[in-house]
Structure formats: C-alpha cells, structure tokens
C-alpha cells in the first residue's frame, strides 16, 4: 500500500501545468485554449496547496501547514474567474466579427 505524499501532488501539478501549456500552444479552438490556461492556473493551485499542506520548511508556523499558500489559492481562483469572464467576452467579440473561433484563422494582423 503506497501512501500519497507531497511528491505525488507536485508531479501531478507539473503534469497538469505541462498539459495546459501544450494545450495553449497546440489546440486550435479559442475556447479550448482558454480552458488550457485555466488548467495551468489549477495546476498552480495544486502546487501551492501541496507545499502548504506538506511544508518543506521545518517548524512550519501552524498545524495544518502554511496558511499563506491557502490564501494564495483563494486569490488565484477569484482572479481566474475574472480572467475567464474577460476572455469569454473577447472570444464573443472575435466570433461576431468573423463567425469563427479557430485560432488559425486569426490572421488579419499578419504582414
């Protein structure tokens, strides 16, 4: 029986972050690209929480880990929501002007 330790969370966070970054670069649908960015932010949340639940630093300030990490996650969640709102609004504006959200077709600004 294997116990789940900090390393597992950190590796999962790193994998999710990489998947999100790959999604931003490779996916062609604007909404999926937005989702990939959100995935990256959630990977960061997982990393923050893993580090605050299992602190590397000896004599952590409190029993349940370091509070600062938990607080950080709340801020990231709130900001991600605001980011999604603005992002979706921009995607709608793009869709209205060209009836497509395929990233490959966003080329009116090329030289």
């Amino acid at each position: 029986m294997m116990t789940i330790g900090p390393v597992h969370y950190l590796v999962l966070g790193a994998i999710l972050f990489t998947l999100g970054a790959a999604g931003v670069v490779l996916r062609r649908n604007a909404v999926v690209v937005l989702m990939s960015v959100e995935l990256m932010l959630n990977a960061v949340n997982l990393t923050f929480l893993a580090f605050s639940r299992f602190p590397l630093v000896q004599n952590a300030p409190m029993q349940g880990g370091i509070l600062q990490g938990h607080v950080a996650v709340f801020f990231v969640i709130a900001t991600a929501a605001a980011e999604a709102a603005v992002g979706l609004a921009i995607i709608i504006a793009v869709f209205r002007s060209r009836t497509s959200i395929n990233v490959d077709e966003f080329d009116s600004l090329k030289f």
Binding site: A30, F48, E83, I91, V94, F106
Partner: protein
C-alpha cells in the same frame, strides 16, 4: 495581523485612481436617469418610436465628455500624491506585503503622468470616432491603479493580483473598438499570451513558496541566503532556480523581451492608438519595476549561485537578443504603428541592460537611476508618438485597415507643428542628442560599463545606430516625400490632442536639455530602494 492608516497612505496613488474609477462608473448610473427624464415629456406614441429606434440613433447618447476631464483630474491627483511623498523615507506596508519607497513612487508618478497625457489623447480620438462609452476611462484608471500597486508590491501574491488588475483592464481596452476585426483579434492574442505569462509567473511563485515557505520577497531572500550556505531544506536550491527562471520568463512576456515578444506587434497594431501609447508607457514601467524588485530584493543575495551572478547572465542574453531582433525586425515595417511596436521591443532590450547592471551591487544605484530615467523618458516619447499616430489613424480605425508610411507623406505641409512633434519623438526614440532618449540611453549604458558589462553596452550602442534607419525614414516621409493622395492626412485641429502632444514634446526636450533637474529628483528617491 493589523495595519493602520499609514499603510493606506503609502498606497495613496493607487487608492486615488481606484476611487476615481469607481466614481466614473457610479456617474454612469445618474447619466441614464437624466436621459430618461429628458425624454419623459414626449407623448406616449413618440416615446415608443424613440425606444424602438434608440439603439441606432447616436445623438441620443448622453454627453460623456466630462469623463475625460474627471479622469485627467484623478490622474493629476495621483501624480501629485506620488510626487508629494517622493522625498519621504521608505516604509514597509501591510506587514511587508508592499513597500512605499522612492523607486515605487517614481514609477507611480510615471504611470500617473502617462495616464494624464493619455486621457487628453484619448479624448480627441474617441470624440472624433463618436465612441466614448462609460467604461473607457474607468478601465484606464483601474489599470493604472494596478500598475501603481505593482510598483510597490513586495509579496508574490500581491504582485499577481495587481498584475491581473492591470492586465484584465488592458485586455478589455484593447478590444474597445470591438466592432472591427483587428481590435478583437489583437485583444484575443494579448489575452491568451498575457494569461499564459501570468500562469508561468504564478508557477514560479508557487515553487518559490515551496522552497521558502513564504510568498514575501524578504522571506524568499532569506531562503536564498540559507540555500547558498546549504542550510535550507533539501532540494530548495533547485526549486529556487526553477522559481527565478519561471518568474523571469513570466515578466519577459510582459515587458516584451525577445523570445517572448510575438504578441507585441499584433497587439500594438490592432489596439486603438491612445490605448497602445498608454500600454507601451505604463506596462513597461510597472513590469520593469516589479522585475527589478523580484530579482534584486528577492534573489539579489550575492553569495548564492542563484543570486545576481545566476540571473545576470540570463538577463544579459535576453537584453542582447531583444536589442538585436527588436531593431532588426523594425526595419522592414511599412506601418508606423507596427514599427513603433518593434521599437518598443528594442527599448525593452535597453531597459534590460539596466536590469543586468543591477546584478553588481556597486553599480546598483546608478543603474536604478538610469532605469527610472529611461522609463520616464520612454513613456513621454512613446505616448507622444502614438498621439500623433492616433490623429493619423482615426480615419483608418473605422475602415478596419492599418496605417501605412504613405499616409504620412507630406504631413509637414498640412500640419507643420504635428510634423515637428513627430520628428522630435522619432529622434528621441532613436537617441539623438538634444532629446530625452539620448540622455536615457547614456545613463543606462554608463551604468552597464560601470558594472563591467562593456561588451553589452557597445552592442547596445551599435544596435541603436542601426535603429536610426527606420526612425529617420518616418521623418523623411513626413518632410521630403510629396503628398501622394489628396486625403492622406485627415484635417482638423484637436485642442486636447495639441495639449497632450505639446506637453510630451516639452517633457522630451526638458529631459534632454536639462536632465540634471530630473535626475536629481530621481536620485533623491532611488537611493532608498532595496531597504
């Protein structure tokens, strides 16, 4: 955890700007009620007809001109607040989450000044396009508030939140003329790459938090010192390495350093010109301020391998690449707006030279001073240049095409003052002597030589000589190429734009001819940086 009124006083510019933005948004509520009252006397049948056609009729829009003046007033107030605190000693705010020091105050003053002039530029532009809507000035004020906070933040979470306050408002501003193809597309590209960069920054913050158990830059500095002596928790040195690399990469996106610059030309080209000017001046100032804070206050410990000697090498290479490719790619551009975008990349390279010079502790005060001087002079110049572009571009903004060098031909015959101003800004960007750009480059390169980075300084000088070509080409078109098309330059004089351009030109000349008075102001402030 307690804080008192002094903490709030320390972030006064940001508070003033936020309150101003909220006031602007609130005033919208009262606007619509006064309009309804004005329509009330109409007979019922007419009222139905009016409401049915209301969306199409632009003349029923309420008069929103007061918003520009209110926004400019708030910006002036913020500028005053930042300047009045300039000489005060540095204090730590909110239990070390932010810092009110001379460095932050000068950046805040630069941002507020940029905002003030941008309000005048935007006023003429938006009125001409009949595109003044309630949110424009509120968004600019919010983003300026984020920039001011960013310059003062000393906690990675505060940095992230202020970064997003600044960026989210700017994404929306880029898409402001959203009916066109180009602004919406520019906003999308900015949004995706900007939030990608934020996520990278945040991952770096998480790793730094893991290694040191805190998001405060002061605690991270302590962790870096501990890791240098091998006393930190196992694996913390590696985590800190990854952390500083990711944090730098995140901000390299924001300041448009070269491997991360792909978004800049498209965004600068597609966004409305007044927004582009504000973005170029404000985002650069705020992002460089926070990059310096992270690298110097967070990772500046000289004894550790992650410290200056680690990141200095990265910054040196970033600076060299950015100066080289920024100038090289600007050469073939036909659109002045795109050319200015690539020139903004090149200027990020010169600013990175100052950051690299900060790696050596003895040259740090001079480099800080050079950076601040450069940020202020670049801000004044670029807002002026984009102010002229805004006047030229108004006509194209509706048609949905970009500007071209040929539309600048013969500008000097129709608008001699405009032509002279544009030439002054181009000379300042190129770094020709009687202008601010020359003094700025001089101080930055001098500090680089002091820091033992002479090859980098020489390379910088060479690239800026190459840059002369494309800046002077604009001047040639303005003065020497005869006017091709009869309608190449829209006529009409705009008072607000004239005020903005005149003040930019005066600042550029003042900083170029009498840099002493300005750098004395900065010097009194920058000595207090870095605790």
């Amino acid at each position: 955890m307690t804080f008192n009124a002094n903490d709030l006083l320390g972030v006064l510019p940001a508070i003033i700007l936020s309150i101003g933005a909220l006031l602007l948004l609130m005033s919208e509520v009262f606007l619509s009620t006064t309009r309804a009252a004005a329509q009330a006397p109409a007979s019922p049948g007419e009222r139905v007809a009016q409401t049915a056609t209301a969306p199409e009729i632009s003349s029923t829009q309420p008069d929103r001109r007061y918003q520009a003046w209110l926004a400019a007033g708030v910006a002036a107030l913020g500028l005053w607040a930042a300047l009045s605190q300039l000489g005060d000693p540095a204090i730590s705010l909110f239990n070390g989450a932010a810092m009110s020091d001379g460095f932050g105050r000068v950046v805040a003053a630069t941002v507020c000044g940029a905002l003030l002039i941008s309000c005048f530029v935007a006023f003429g532009y938006l009125e001409w396009l009949r595109a003044t809507r309630g949110e424009f000035y509120a968004l600019t004020l919010f983003s300026a508030a984020g920039m001011c906070l960013l310059a003062q933040a000393t906690d990675l979470i505060v940095i992230f939140v202020s970064l997003e306050v600044m960026s989210l408002a700017l994404y929306a501003l880029c898409a402001y003329l959203r009916r066109g193809k180009r602004p919406a597309e520019a906003a999308f590209k900015y949004f995706i790459l900007g939030s990608f960069a934020s996520a990278i920054f945040l991952y770096g913050a998480a790793l730094g938090f893991g290694a040191t158990g805190s998001t405060r830059l002061a605690d991270i500095a302590a962790g870096v010192r501990l890791a240098a002596t091998g006393g930190g928790p196992g694996g913390s040195a590696g985590l800190l390495f990854a952390s500083v690399a990711l944090l730098t990469a995140g901000f390299a996106f924001k300041v448009a350093a070269v491997p991360f610059h792909m978004w800049v030309p498209d965004v600068y080209d597609g966004a409305p010109a007044p927004v582009t000017g504000f973005m170029a001046a404000g985002v650069k100032a705020a992002a460089f301020a926070v990059l310096v804070r992270i690298l110097v206050s967070g990772f500046g410990d000289p004894s550790s391998s992650i410290g200056p000697h680690g990141w200095q090498q990265i910054i040196v290479w970033l600076a060299a690449l950015t100066m080289f490719f920024g100038n090289l790619l600007a050469v073939p551009q036909r659109s002045v707006k795109r050319m200015l975008a690539y020139s903004s990349i090149a200027h990020a390279g010169y600013l990175l030279v100052a950051v690299a010079a900060m790696g050596n502790a003895p040259s740090r005060p001079d480099a800080t001073q050079g950076l601040l001087f450069y940020l202020a002079s670049y801000g004044a110049t670029v807002i002026g240049a984009f102010g002229v572009v805004a006047l030229i571009e108004r006509k194209f903004a509706l048609a949905g095409t970009g500007d071209d060098l040929s539309s600048w031909a013969g500008l000097s015959e129709r608008h001699p003052a405009l032509a002279a101003a544009m030439s002054l800004f181009m000379l300042s960007l190129a770094g020709v002597p009687p202008t601010a750009g020359f003094m700025a480059k001089l101080t930055v390169f001098r500090s680089a030589i002091e820091a033992g980075l002479a090859p980098l300084a020489i390379f910088g000088v060479l690239t800026s000589v190459a840059g002369l070509y494309y800046y002077l080409r604009v001047v040639v078109y303005v003065y020497m190429v005869p006017e091709g098309r009869a309608d190449s330059v829209p006529g009409g004089r705009v008072l607000s734009a004239s005020i903005a351009l005149a003040s930019c030109a005066l600042i550029v000349l003042w900083m170029g001819i009498m840099p002493g008075s300005f750098s004395a102001m900065i010097q009194s402030a920058s000595g207090s940086f870095g605790r």
